[in-house]
């Protein structure tokens, strides 16, 4: 853990409210991007960030996350997807809906209606990612963990959008085959 994050964590442990200011300053942009990718709404993003800082305040201690950045990103992602779940009945977020529909490609149609055993599939996804080449893996994680748009991924990496799309398509197809071979009931 770098010294700045150590300082921030120590602020949390000493229950100093400056911890909120510090994480907001340092990780507001990072977490805000994740929230915005999912919710596509500035007000919702701000609420998600507030909830993230509060959640961090309530969980550190006892948590002592290392790295802090990834922990905050995980909190933001969870809070944002929870908020999205409610919103989807009222107001669709078109770009995030597209992302979810891409992920539905990974689910064999025969199993789409089945219940799945939460908390297990990610282990197989980890195994799959280990075996995936680095470039494809990073693009996959940027898209389906960070919920980045295809245009953003293409822009950041200097690829064409079609190159990103085809990489994602191939990875999704391989993941579906991998999960089927693993006998994952999804």
């Amino acid at each position: 853990m770098n010294s700045e994050d150590k300082s921030i964590i120590s602020l949390f442990f000493s229950r100093s409210e400056r911890a909120i200011t510090a994480v907001s300053n340092k990780y507001g942009l990072y977490c805000g991007k994740i929230a915005m990718n999912i919710l596509q709404n500035e007000a919702d993003k701000e609420e998600t960030l507030n909830d993230t800082w509060l959640k961090a305040w309530n969980t550190i201690p006892p948590q002592n996350p290392n790295p802090l950045k990834t922990y905050l990103g995980m909190l933001t992602r969870t809070i944002a997807i929870n908020r999205y779940s409610y919103y989807k009945a009222q107001k669709r977020n078109g770009s995030f809906d597209i992302l979810l529909s891409e992920l539905e490609d990974v689910i064999p149609s025969s199993r789409a209606e089945q219940e799945y055993e939460a908390g297990e599939i990610y282990k197989s996804i980890n195994e799959f990612l280990k075996k995936t080449d680095k470039a494809s893996r990073i693009i996959f994680v940027r898209r389906y963990y960070y919920a980045d748009s295809i245009a953003d991924i293409a822009k950041f990496f200097g690829f064409s959008e079609s190159k990103v799309k085809s990489s994602l398509f191939r990875t999704r197809t391989k993941l579906r085959d991998f999960l089927e071979k693993e006998g994952i009931e999804i």
Partner: protein, 452 residues
């Protein structure tokens, strides 16, 4: 299973994959990171409380351009000693552009921020080609392939000298960018002796691809009053200084605040959709121009002056208005409720934050929602004319704070707002206590600055 379920599962993947994707990708956050690195250093001196207003201490304000204005007290010292004297500057040899962006000296290290533009590189190249080109141009000590990178983003090295000491081909402390452009920080540590010997006149150079900059420093500037730093106004014990930067067709404003209020955090302006004219604006040469936002926290924005043919006299007579700023506060209120069998909820008429009441119009269990969440409609009532409430957060249900999901809905047409919330660990029908926290207030006292 749905795509949403799978998205949640992907949220649990190994940290190493998440970090890998982040490390490879973090380039555009970089400038902010660099600034924040310095902000963290001074974070301990920026959050002042009202006691410091009352105390009859000697005032001493420091200004670190691009970073902060701070007030030093006997209890807190700014750790940055010197900042770069001069503006950003660039050299080029046609193949490479080298830009010195900024530099800071603390009591133990120096950070030099710089940018390299490699005109001969792009995403179509591979590591081998980049290496060949670097050798061809004589840059191979400064530009080396990163075999682990998935893109042809080479590692960049610079040579730093401090006095007679040479730090040859030093790896960056941090860097981010694309194959063509990278922004870097080079940190040299353990410079206590250099500071003792040279002080602010420390002779420092940085070289990249045989292009060298001499870096000159100036002490962090101190002022007896904030007004001496730049146009400043104060309301509600929050001092805001607006530092203007004029360019040909543009005016950029960076806000620096000093918080003597009881509020925990000061943000910049807040775009209140329900209120008129909350965006900053300037009046210049008879024109009223609204701001375009640059930063997410409302502290930086710019004005498009193209076509106005602005003179120095016009600049001196320009007036900047910031109609509102927002502040966050650490306070909590708990609402005791009783959920009836039919899903209706008995509730108090209002909750009271320190500066605003929230009149509760209705509460019920939303049975159509899969989480059976509690839905609440409410109306915000100001306690004073100059403070509104733009946000607050659900902290816990029955004192359990984990697993909370919330949403909020506002409308331009009505003052009634709605929010819904649930807690994965607390069935809504068993909820008896709801705690709300971290109100964000809008302060309506307009800050007005003469930019002369």
């Amino acid at each position: 299973m749905t795509g949403e379920d799978l998205f949640r599962e992907i949220g649990k993947i190994d940290n190493k994959f998440i970090q890998e994707a982040d490390n490879c990708y973090a380039k555009h956050d970089f400038k902010r990171y660099a600034a924040i690195a310095a902000c963290i250093i001074i974070a301990t001196v920026t959050a002042l409380n009202s006691n410091s207003v009352q105390a009859a201490i000697k005032r001493l304000f420091s200004f670190i351009p691009g970073i902060a204005i701070t007030e030093e007290t006997e209890d807190s010292k700014n750790e940055i000693l010197y900042s770069m004297d001069g503006e950003e500057q660039t050299q080029t040899d046609g193949n490479v552009e080298f830009t010195l962006m900024n530099a800071y000296v603390t009591s133990s290290y120096i950070d030099i921020m710089w940018k390299a533009t490699l005109n001969f590189n792009d995403e179509s190249k591979d590591n081998e080609t980049v290496t060949e080109l670097a050798e061809k141009y004589g840059y191979s000590d400064y530009i080396k392939p990163n075999e682990e990178a998935m893109f042809p983003i080479p590692d960049l090295y610079s040579t730093v000298t401090i006095g007679n000491a040479i730090y040859p081909y030093t790896e960056n402390t941090s860097a981010g960018g694309s194959p063509t452009e990278q922004t870097c920080i080079t940190r040299i540590e353990n410079i206590e002796n250099d500071i003792a010997v040279y002080g602010v006149n420390m002779p420092v150079t940085i070289t990249f691809c045989d292009m060298t900059f001499d870096i000159h420093f100036k002490p962090i500037q101190y002022y007896d009053s904030v007004d001496e730093i730049g146009p400043t106004a104060m309301h509600n014990n929050i001092s805001v200084t607006a530092m203007p930067t004029w360019s040909e067709n543009k005016l950029t404003i960076k806000l620096y605040s000093l918080n003597y209020s009881e509020f925990l955090q000061v943000y910049g302006y807040y775009d209140d959709l329900k209120a008129d004219a909350t965006l900053p604006y300037i009046i210049i040469k008879g024109n009223t121009i609204q701001a375009q936002v640059l930063s997410g926290d409302g502290t930086e924005f710019e004005f498009d002056l193209s076509g106005l043919d602005i003179t120095d006299e016009d600049k001196k007579s320009a007036i900047l208005h910031i109609p509102v700023i927002s502040v966050g506060n650490h306070e909590s209120v708990t609402l005791d409720i009783n959920v009836n069998n039919d899903g209706t909820i008995d509730h108090p008429d209002k909750i009271s934050f320190k500066y605003c009441d929230v009149d509760i119009i209705s509460m019920w269990i939303n049975k159509n929602n899969p989480d059976n969440e509690i839905t609440m409609t409410y109306r915000i009532q100001k306690k004073s004319d100059n403070i509104g409430l733009c946000n607050f957060t659900v902290a816990s249900l029955n004192n359990k704070s984990s697993g909370i999901g919330t949403w909020k809905q506002t409308s331009d047409n009505t003052d009634i707002e709605a929010m819904g919330f649930h807690n994965d660990d607390v069935p809504s029908k068993k909820c008896k206590h709801i705690t709300f926290t971290f109100p964000i207030y809008t302060l309506y006292d307009e800050y007005v600055f003469a930019l002369n």
